[in-house]
């Protein structure tokens, strides 16, 4: 990890940022098309995809694409997202988190407890969405499953889709709330003050080498 000119710390390298935004764009497409097929009140969203049949055709392919792209991120993020004792403590102090009282929180590494929790929620949701999605993918796979399994798959698919959408709403809001986060994922860097404030253990870790040099 190299320090950028004077006051920048690199947080996400370009390949990670690009993958993240590929996942993000596919998520928006798959969520919008999924909602269109889930609730009649949102069926009009099928117009964005060229009508009902096109939405039905595209949705599962976009979903598989998103799952594959996320798998690349997941592999890269896996090691830094292992839950530690301090992460549970961080989550328990939710009130301090929500009220921006970071001085009361345990030191955070590269990711905080909330980010790690989100990471695993996404993994569980995507896995269940993928498996149930296969069963309800009428054009290619449904005929290989008993109808009760397809029914159960339909319910699971809706449930995990909603959980994932809610989780991503939280994710997006957190990025708006904690200023400097969006720049980290668009430009790739954060200021030392940002790192010191939000991810102090990570800050120490990445600046250690720089001091020695």
């Amino acid at each position: 990890m190299s320090l950028q000119p004077a006051d920048r710390i690199e947080r996400y390298r370009a390949p990670v940022r690009i993958t993240h935004w590929i996942v993000a764009i596919s998520f928006v497409l798959v969520a919008v098309s999924g909602l269109a097929l889930f609730h009649p009140a949102m069926f009009w969203l099928t117009n964005l995809f060229g009508g009902g049949p096109w939405t039905r055709i595209l949705h599962p392919f976009i979903g598989c694409f998103m799952a594959a792209a996320f798998a690349l991120l997941g592999v890269r993020f896996w090691r830094d997202n292992a839950m530690q004792q301090s992460d549970w403590m961080w989550l328990r102090k939710f009130n301090d988190v929500a009220n921006n009282r970071e001085q009361n929180l345990p030191e955070v590494g590269r990711y905080n407890g909330g980010q790690k929790l989100l990471f695993f929620v996404i993994i569980v949701c995507l896995t269940c969405l993928f498996l149930s999605g296969i069963a309800i993918w009428r054009q290619y796979f449904s005929e290989y499953f008993a109808v009760d399994l397809v029914r159960f798959g339909s319910l699971l698919h809706a449930f995990f889709g909603i959980v994932l959408i809610c989780a991503i709403v939280v994710h997006i809001y957190a990025a708006i709330w904690v200023k400097g986060s969006i720049r980290a994922m668009t430009r790739g860097w954060v200021t030392p003050g940002w790192a010191w404030k939000h991810h102090r253990a990570w800050f120490r870790e990445v600046t250690k080498g720089i001091q020695q040099r």
């Binding site: 709330w177 003050g193 120490r204």
Partner: protein, 300 residues
């Protein structure tokens, strides 16, 4: 819809009423299939093909009389043959004309996500409007009788229409017209129920103690009904469901899940919005930068 219908009482994925000023004031319709009179001649299958201009692929013999072996997008009705050995040791040939039951509470219509792809007319007929069909197959997931089929060619769902086009102009369905033994009759649901009762009395007098009418209440009754010799064991007739109903899983999926899900998403976003207004963003300022700088300087 090619012709305007003013008698649509239910329309898939639609909340507001559809044009329904024309009612079924002479009574809802029903087709009564008397399995005890059926000789398995398949005239009904041929009439269905002819009227609806359907030609299924020529298949191969699968070792029983069912031909074609299953319902398909081109075969909307099918005679299913069962060889049943009764407790007395006699062979009974149970033949059931399979096809859409036209449920009063249709699982297909409940499950369909596409507005107007499935409608129910005031006379009770459940009809697919293929021009609105998106090919998702949810109707298959929702159907308690395993009836709808998606065409491999155009990816639209098809099933028996109860000859809604014929019924609309006062004709009986094609299968009814063709039946040589009078095993299929058509009229108002009331008349058909009454006719069935007479048949059942007759059957009981001939030793079929368990004869009865199949008009399952679990789906609100059906507009295609059967007279069965063994009404206590409908499963004998090629797996006719004993107590069909819309699967609870489907009801959950298409019921409370929908409003709850929307509420959950909107509530999550609203909490975020209120948090931003109430607590405000978490910003990094000069003091944090200074603290970071001091920390960097003191590190050996």
């Amino acid at each position: 819809m090619p012709l305007q219908s003013l008698d649509i009482v239910r329309r898939s994925a639609t909340t507001l009423p559809s044009p329904e000023v024309r009612g079924a004031h002479t009574g809802q319709v029903a087709k009564l299939i008397d399995t005890t009179k059926c000789i398995g001649c398949k005239a009904c299958q041929v009439a269905c093909m002819e009227w609806n201009d359907l030609r299924d692929a020529i298949g191969s013999c699968t070792g029983h009389y069912d031909n074609p072996p299953d319902l398909s997008e081109n075969s909307w009705t099918l005679m299913r043959f069962t060889e049943y050995e009764n407790p007395k040791g006699d062979l009974e040939w149970l033949i059931r004309k399979d096809g859409c039951m036209h449920c009063a509470d249709p699982g297909c219509l409940n499950a369909c996500p596409s507005p107007g792809a499935i409608v129910q007319y005031a006379n009770g007929i459940v009809d697919f409007q293929e021009e609105n069909c998106i090919g998702c197959g949810y109707c298959i997931t929702g159907c308690p009788f395993d009836v709808p089929r998606i065409s491999k060619q155009d990816k639209k769902a098809y099933k028996c229409t109860l000859c809604s086009d014929r019924v609309a102009v006062g004709l009986e369905p094609a299968c009814v017209k063709s039946c040589p033994t009078g095993a299929i009759v058509f009229g108002t649901k009331e008349d058909m129920t009454q006719h069935a009762e007479e048949r059942i009395v007759d059957l009981k007098s001939r030793g079929f103690e368990q004869a009865g009418l199949y008009d399952p209440a679990g789906v609100g009754g059906t507009h295609v009904m059967y007279v069965l010799h063994h009404a206590d064991q409908p499963m004998l007739y090629s797996g006719l469901p004993d107590k069909p109903r819309i699967s609870p899983t489907v009801s959950l999926w298409k019921g409370i899940t929908k409003p709850l899900a929307l509420f959950a998403i909107v509530a999550t976003a609203a909490v975020g919005f209120l948090h931003y207004i109430g607590v405000g963003p978490n910003e990094t300022d000069e003091r944090d930068e200074d603290a970071a700088r001091r920390e960097l300087e003191k590190t050996p």
